[in-house]
């Protein structure tokens, strides 16, 4: 299996869409889509995410791989398919700033990992508080790039009246290991595929 995953990662890193598709087609006779996601696609994206955090993989490769896998997963497992993970209602947003790429990557990676989530787009602090209080999602993922935006996440936590778990990420959290604790979020992700691990962890805890 390790060899299969490595070959799949190579195809993704060199952005060889056809090779990526071929890998999936070869395996889809024997295996169900969800098996492919859990045993091949998600581990490959996780390895790329961790490689980025170590400095061995470039962001452009993480982004393009996420996109390719997201398309692929949409074709083998349409969004409405009830094989999609039985998961808590969740949403993702960019808070206060205008940098959408982090959210886009996390969104792709999660969808390629078989999750479904609502995209809130870009919201101000007050807008996010209102949205959480009315939708009551179990989990909200927040992406920021500017430091002041990261510091405003604390206000969201203070002002919501739900038990929503907040997972935060983006450059300021990479440069400051204590920032998550300071603003009081439940979890911090340092790369996009951390989101998959964190969600799996949260669902284990709640079940």
């Amino acid at each position: 299996m390790k060899k299969l995953i490595d070959n799949f990662i190579n195809a993704l890193q060199s952005m060889d869409r056809l090779a990526v598709k071929r890998h999936i087609e070869e395996l889809s006779g024997e295996h169900k889509p969800l098996w492919l996601i859990e045993n091949l696609i998600a581990p490959a994206l996780t390895a790329l995410g961790e490689g980025w955090e170590r400095g061995d993989v470039a962001l452009s490769q993480v982004y393009m791989s996420g996109r390719i896998c997201e398309e692929l997963v949409d074709s083998i497992l349409p969004p409405a398919d009830n094989e999609r993970k039985n998961q808590p209602p969740m949403a993702i947003t960019v808070l206060e700033d205008y940098h959408m790429l982090g959210k886009r990557i996390v969104y792709s990676v999660l969808r390629a990992g078989g999750f479904e989530l609502t995209d809130y787009g870009r919201l101000s602090t007050d807008e996010l508080v209102d949205r959480i209080n009315s939708d009551k999602p179990e989990v909200v993922l927040i992406s920021v790039l500017m430091l002041p935006s990261a510091l405003k996440i604390g206000k969201v936590k203070e002002n919501i009246n739900t038990s929503t778990k907040i997972i935060a990420g983006g450059a300021p959290f990479i440069f400051d290991n204590d920032l998550g604790k300071e603003v009081g979020v439940d979890e911090v992700g340092k790369n996009a595929s951390d989101a998959i691990d964190i969600l799996n962890k949260l669902s284990r805890v709640s079940s």
Partner: protein, 353 residues
Amino acid sequence: MSSYTSLTRVLTTLSHKEPDRVPFFLLVTMHGAKELGVTIKEYFSKAENVVEGQTRLREKYRHDCIYSFFYAPVETEAFGGEVIYHDDCPPNSGMPIISSEKDIKNLVAPNVYDTKCLLKVLKATEMLKGRTGDDAPLIGVVMSPFSLPVMQMGFDKYLEIIYERPDLFDLLMKINEDFCVQWANAQIEAGATAICYFDPLSSPTVTDRKIFLKTGFEIAKRTIAQIKGPVATHLASGRCLPIIDDLVKTGTAVVGTSAMEDISLLKNSCRGKLTVLGNLNGIEMRRWTSDQAEEIVKNTLAGAGHGGGFILSDNHGEIPWQVPDNVLMAISDAVHKWGVYPLDWVEDYYSSV
């Protein structure tokens, strides 16, 4: 009294020799607004404010450069884009000016000398040069042609054309290169001593080296060759170790380094080839105590100060608004105390840690 000025101190380190003290670039921008008691928006609205702010900040923190940088989106503003101001954050670029293939084909670069926001920066540069003379280097800033499109068209769309539409990519680079060269040379003509070429897209944090060698690398070589003054490349806290030798070949003299990489490894791979600028963590700095600041400065000087070829600075090329004055003062005090050459305390320091 030392016979060195900030300028001769910096020139000595650039020639990989030790001056009287490790040069210190405190790359403060928005803190000028605090000094003047105005909002960030108001501060950047007039050249005179930036001139006054930079002057007061250099007097206060005794650092070795003047920084005529306003904010990165001034260049997209010049192309007709919107700038969004906040009271606690650097100005950000608004809606992308390019949203279709047609927009790239019709894109025309602004003429620097007809563009109000750029003329304001040039005016500040001229006035700062008038005040500073040859006492300290005056650092101007350009975005690299390869990094600017993130603000012109959005990061996701840009990555897609890098990989999937080389025709559009080449067209955009041609326009941006011409603009970048004109913008850099106009700043040099107005009095900038050197140009800081911000190119985080070339960092292996963002682009893998194979693609970089075909894109950002060639673009930097062509662009830097046409800039009529010394150039420092800054990857805005992206990593640089894997591409140090490539950067040397672009013709740059300095590299701005990331807190994500070890300063002594950086110094070793740049030794004799590039001056290392860096690498204090600007994000974390907000929470440092004075003692911590002193310790981190010592550790950085110990790792990279020896033999010159080093300028102490933050790792991004801009101190966040949230960093309090007492931290900046502690950093300045520490470099004035521990940065005096020869750094003969370093041996004891290493044997004690």
